[in-house]
Symmetry: C2
Subunit: 138 residues, 2 copies
Amino acid sequence: MNETHTIPICKLDHISIVVPNLDLASKFYLETFECEVSVPIDLPNQKMRIAYVILSNVKIELMEPTGPDSTIEKFLERNPSGGLHHFCLTTPDTGTAAKKVRLKNIRVIGEGVSHDDKDLFFMHPKDTLGSLIEIEEE
Amino acid sequence: MNETHTIPICKLDHISIVVPNLDLASKFYLETFECEVSVPIDLPNQKMRIAYVILSNVKIELMEPTGPDSTIEKFLERNPSGGLHHFCLTTPDTGTAAKKVRLKNIRVIGEGVSHDDKDLFFMHPKDTLGSLIEIEEE
């Protein structure tokens, strides 16, 4: 595979954990580790609330579904205690990255914009050997 | 909770993904992203083979079970395509960290030493709101 076909990665921005209760999870990280935890951010379009555990090199995103049709509600049904859901890599240009992903016959899903206005998409986990990988513009 | 009881965290060192086939997974990361992938490391005591995808700020550990009594074989039975298994935070002193963890009534499991001689333990996922968290000495 030619290197020009690989996707440039700036860093791993965050890992994401689905939790049944965002306030309890925020309290757990704050009381267990020396870290900061952001205030909750409501994302009504995605039917979830999130908060970030801020570490020196990455963030841990905590995600709580707020409706039965939330994209993460099914995950919580299969994993009632919650658990690791995906990780997010950043790239300089998501448009170019999505084209390269499609050329590799990896399905692009969930194209959209993050709550802080960054373009993003996901790679279908059935095409990535099991992991849901988010690609976000740096 | 007094801050002296929280565990100091240096960084998130790696996330770990269980994969059914380490060679295929290494090839996937190498051909999909601009990154380095280490040579496979055989861990016969843990009945697994691992390799590291090296990003600028963290590593992604790929883990393949090499025996039916491997600690990660059960995970693969539940998730035949593989998937996110745990993440690893580093701390200056795992002995002090393990004491603090026990004081919080979080079970300490899997105490041991990594393949590169660093003390480590895991926090029981039933006591951490669903995620398996590894703590390794910096």
